[in-house]
């Protein structure tokens, strides 16, 4: 057991010295995405289903199944992210700043794929992850 605290939402933010238009290209052009993320058949079209493929490693088959959810050029991009039996949503937000762009990546809504198929679940995986923080806090 490590000391890392699980969170139900993962947020990574960075200030980069490049304009939003350029970052947008890196986020939405398939060959460019492959250069920094993974092989993919992404298209910036809402509803488009695609997958990311990486070299399989122990504990992971290297496949992420996705669907494009939001495309607002140079500003917002979001896709679902299904991998390792868990379903989540990845959302990118680009905000222009004086010297470049504030890039925000949020991965949220973690839930098991079983739960995802279980409509009306009152007690979702997310809630469990929240409770987990308290449980884990008591582990040495």
């Amino acid at each position: 057991m490590t000391n890392t605290t699980p969170t139900r939402t993962l947020v990574i933010e960075r200030e980069v010295p490049h304009p939003p238009e350029k970052i947008w290209r890196a986020l939405t052009q398939s060959p460019l995405i492959e250069e920094w993320l993974m092989k993919n058949d992404f298209q910036p079209v809402v509803g488009h289903r695609f997958s990311f493929r990486a070299t399989p490693v122990p504990n992971w088959n290297g496949v992420v199944d996705c669907e494009v959810l939001v495309v607002e050029p140079n500003s917002r991009l979001s896709y679902s992210w299904g991998s390792m039996g868990m379903e989540s949503v990845v959302a990118w937000t680009l905000t222009p700043t004086k010297d470049g762009t504030h890039v925000r990546m949020e991965q949220s809504g973690f839930r098991s794929e079983e739960d995802a198929n279980y409509k009306g679940a009152r007690y979702g995986w997310q809630k469990f992850i929240g409770g987990l923080e308290q449980v884990v806090a008591r582990i040495d």
Partner: protein, 107 residues
């Protein structure tokens, strides 16, 4: 490792099992009877759920007389916690690569 992770994820995908596990983690050791009184399902159902949690090593039990006492084993959540922290590392690494790409795009 993957097999254990699968067991943990499957065991906790069920709301009744999650509630049982959370109660044991929060309130400490309890008998099957005490768990049944508050679970809202029958004792055989509770026992079956506890069996699944036990298979995933999320709980342990000990017998005392005619009662079976169950304990939470929160350290068995490790695959789940590793899974979450894995993503943090993953994205930070990818952000570095994205920044490298942006620099190269300057030509």
């Amino acid at each position: 490792m993957q097999a254990i992770a699968d067991d943990v994820f499957k065991a906790l995908a069920d709301p009744t099992r999650r509630a049982l596990f959370e109660r044991l983690a929060r309130d400490g050791e309890q008998t099957v009877h005490a768990l049944t009184d508050r679970a809202g399902v029958s004792q055989p159902a509770v026992s079956k759920h506890l069996g699944v949690l036990k298979h995933a090593k999320l709980v342990r039990y000990r017998r005392e007389g005619r009662e079976t006492h169950y304990n939470a084993q929160p350290q068995a959540l490790a695959p789940l916690v590793d899974w979450m922290s894995l993503y943090g590392t993953f994205w930070r690494d990818r952000f570095d690569q994205l920044e490298n790409l942006l620099k190269r795009m300057d030509k």
